[in-house]
């Protein structure tokens, strides 16, 4: 079927679908407002790497700093700062969280990594105030939750949302 014959108006045979165009114009206006906000949201950090995307959680013993939002296959940093020195410092990261990432780099390199059923424990030599940094590459989309625990401190909950 080639479709219905367009109506003739003022000598022109044309289907302008004016009602559709009016409705579409309203959608366009609304969409433009949303689209205009998108770059602002990106600068603010809604998609990671923005002004307010970094968050720090933790207690007196240890703090964990990471991005609230990540993007799949793009490296993101998780930094653990140790307030009290212990030798070695054992940082355990829950598998529930870590399974959504490839660990690209741990700096400084861990002296020993021990795999447990529900967590990986990284042992470092670190002084008070030192921080260790995990470079993680997200491989799973959506919400990733878990805990990071520095031995002797309370577990710190981490939560990152990963975009495609």
């Amino acid at each position: 079927m080639p479709g219905p014959e367009p109506p003739v108006t003022n000598g022109l045979q044309i289907d302008q679908s004016l009602e559709f165009q009016r409705r579409f114009r309203r959608v366009q206006k609304l969409a433009w407002r949303v689209l205009a906000l998108l770059p602002v949201a990106a600068v603010a950090g809604l998609f990671g790497g923005g002004l307010f995307s970094q968050t720090t959680a933790g207690s007196a013993g240890a703090t964990v700093s990471y991005e609230r939002f990540g993007r799949r296959s793009v490296d993101t940093q998780l930094e653990v700062t140790v307030a009290r020195a212990r030798r070695p410092v054992a940082v355990s990261v829950s598998r529930a969280f870590l399974d959504g990432y490839d660990v690209s780099e741990v700096r400084p390199p861990a002296e020993r990594v021990t795999a447990h059923a529900d967590r990986l424990v990284f042992d470092f030599t670190a002084l008070a105030g030192a921080s260790v940094s995990f470079t993680l590459t997200p491989k799973r989309l959506g919400s990733g939750r878990g805990t990071v625990t520095v031995a002797g401190s309370r577990p710190v909950r981490v939560h990152q949302f990963v975009y495609p």
Binding site: Q16, Q21, Q28, W32, S73
Partner: protein, 151 residues
């Protein structure tokens, strides 16, 4: 499997953004449109392929894009509503010599643009020689000049 979803995602993203931007076809492409086109193709191209530059993935993505395009063409041909959503509808800008200002303003078209097309396509010298001007779905402006009976 992933390249197929990447291809579908990129196609839908571009379709939605380009349609909402109000651009029609590429019949009247400005230098800025060209720059935008080059930058977007470069940006989306990276997301489309990801880290996988194998020939197999290139083939999967190419075929997926062609299939989606064919499917949307078929849907547009079968259902007028989908045709309007995907390809828009023509819009009369000058009707029987009467300039429809609101439509020109909304479509960001100046009378200069209409007159330029009229000169190029029909050799028309003045606005009062134009009977109809229509913004087509392709983005081109078609001009129907007044004939002797109309004057």
């Amino acid at each position: 499997m992933e390249p197929v979803f990447r291809a579908i995602g990129c196609y839908l993203l571009l379709l939605i953004v380009v349609r909402l931007s109000g651009k029609r076809g590429l019949a009247q492409i400005t230098i800025f449109d060209l720059i935008l086109l080059l930058l977007i193709s470069q940006t989306v191209g990276q997301a489309l392929i990801g880290d996988d530059s194998s020939l197999t993935t290139a083939a999967v993505i190419t075929v997926t894009l062609v299939v989606i395009n064919r499917a949307s063409d078929t849907a547009a041909h079968r259902w007028a509503d989908i045709s309007h959503v995907l390809e828009d509808a023509p819009l009369v800008l000058i009707e029987n010599g009467h300039v429809l200002d609101e439509r020109l303003t909304h479509m960001k078209i100046r009378l200069d643009d209409v007159l330029e097309t009229a000169r190029l396509e029909e050799g028309v010298e003045r606005l009062d020689q134009i009977k109809h001007a229509i913004l087509e779905r392709s983005g081109a402006i078609s001009i129907i000049p007044k004939d002797d009976d109309d004057r």
